[in-house]
Symmetry: C2
Amino acid sequence: MRKKYADIIDVAIAAGVSAATVSRSFNHPDKVRADTKKRINQAVERTGYIRNRAAQAIHGKRSGMIGLIVPTLDNAIFANLIQAFTSTLAEHGFTMLVTTHGYDLKSEYQLLRSLLSHRVEGIALIGLEHNAETYDLLELRETPCVAIWNYNQLSRIHCVGSDNFEAGQQIADHILSKGHKNIGTIFPQLAGNDRAAARFAGVISKIEEAGLKIPNELRSQSIYSIKHARICCRALLQRDTPPTALICGNDVIAQGSIYEAQALGMKIPQDVAVAGIGDFSGSGEIYPSLTTVRLRANKIGIEAAQLLVGVINGENTQSLTRIAVDLELQERESTNFQINAENA
Amino acid sequence: MRKKYADIIDVAIAAGVSAATVSRSFNHPDKVRADTKKRINQAVERTGYIRNRAAQAIHGKRSGMIGLIVPTLDNAIFANLIQAFTSTLAEHGFTMLVTTHGYDLKSEYQLLRSLLSHRVEGIALIGLEHNAETYDLLELRETPCVAIWNYNQLSRIHCVGSDNFEAGQQIADHILSKGHKNIGTIFPQLAGNDRAAARFAGVISKIEEAGLKIPNELRSQSIYSIKHARICCRALLQRDTPPTALICGNDVIAQGSIYEAQALGMKIPQDVAVAGIGDFSGSGEIYPSLTTVRLRANKIGIEAAQLLVGVINGENTQSLTRIAVDLELQERESTNFQINAENA
DNA sequence: ACCAGAAATGAAAACGTTTGCATAACTATT
DNA sequence: AATAGTTATGCAAACGTTTTCATTTCTGGT
């Protein structure tokens, strides 16, 4: 046997046509006669041919792959987002090449190079905070690229996402409207995580607008873990004058806070109100249900994929597209208590 | 400008060597003199060269990509698994090409063809239940392949995972040891989901071994959703003689059951015990903490990646490797109550 | 200084496609 | 039935690498 698997020439011979015609039959089906196409398809069947996209990618464009760089897959809401993104891509004939950097922006540049070496047709990144060399390389290679998850009207690249600053504002507004004056926060580390940083800035802006402030002792920092969040929460709630409300950087931290408050025998929302950001699957179903700001991960994923495909196909020629996906404050049980004047 | 981006020849010219030497400098660094290598690296820097893996893949093997076919990414424990898998692959220089089929095994074959057309060097599948044509194609193309998540000593391909039948047995044993006789189950649909099917079979085997049986009315079916699980749980708990224990097919369903029981004013585990399978992140932290069987997603992901890389590199020549990753029963609060004879 | 053997490099073919151009085969018009 | 126009197909070059084989350049022993 000369070679291992059937190539386009074997198919061509089996179908009694030239390789060029076989190729056209796949890529420009309208340019080949119906009966020829049928013969070719039979030949494909007979020979067990599977086309080689590497060979296809080599000269022209079409590798059929999109690269995604994501901090981690191990995170409920990213998983949500990525599922929507990848299945939408699949509808358009693209497959997703995924890499993760674990929140280490320094390695992002290398991952980008790796994806480019695979000649992906487009790149998706999470968030808008990236190294200068990452941005520069994207520009240099003129790679279609979209930033997912954050919306920012000054973004350097296309973006599809929600305004995290606004999310912070919404949840802070809600907490303030319930009469809270003594408020604590539990957020992830802000450096290298522009989502968390923007949310926090939104919270602070509204608090200060209301003439209040959050002292440093009530600004707690937790990783993305229920267990660790519980520890942070406990520290806050066992202070001499514990906060009457906790604003958490995401729903995982908020859930941990709820469990810990319960474990301490406190009533939610009467003794302490808890709010999150994200509206993860389950947040509306736990007891008490969690007040949060919904980030529509599914919608963001779909829109981002559509935008990227559009850019690749040259439909989106001129300027930068920035899509703000709306937020929805979800008022639920965990904050459903009005503080009266005496309590304040 | 002749062409858009620097290719290997541009680098060769810039470095004053031939293309062959540049290629060797990447692929067989020991075969080229140190100072030549240095000159080449400088030339790479200067020209902004990014090598083209498509061109590399075209003739020989090395595409540097592994294909993964997964039911969905949108699932806490798969996300866990996949994160471990992809980061281990990355350590070995591979990038992961991901596709999802949403539990539709029929489309799996097409996804496999698509991955093969990208000339991935290896394939990972979830579970062992696949169409005959999927298995046949894998064999025909002699593609290194590993099934992740399930262990079965009769598997047709390499596998790394836990024995779901045993997981079902373990949790059933535990529930029986607490004296329960009136037991309900809430499982996902079993067809097309060999994990769930094996777990259920394990549960049933132990129940029957104990001389008990679970009537059809107490066998409930729920999708992977807290909300839907709550509905199923409610139906079971509102029966005239509700079960004293619920065995759930996974921790998401178990969590939903806990919330619903609480909402119905029932005490866990006194009024009803709840057990899950999986030990998702958070299951040990909720209140009451959930008794479950730990599936070590992280370990499975890492081992699977190592096995697959080994097979690709020809280290694992002879027979099929099947790795059983151990289970760990996690006894927690949600079942911590012994039924006495009168209650039974 | 010379030579044998080893190490480094280069030239060219090969990998499996796609595509521009040329040609052949149809269609429809007269 | 001839012709012009259209449509379908084939030929061959090109894409960017890797690799085999041949050649050149070292290296060290005499």
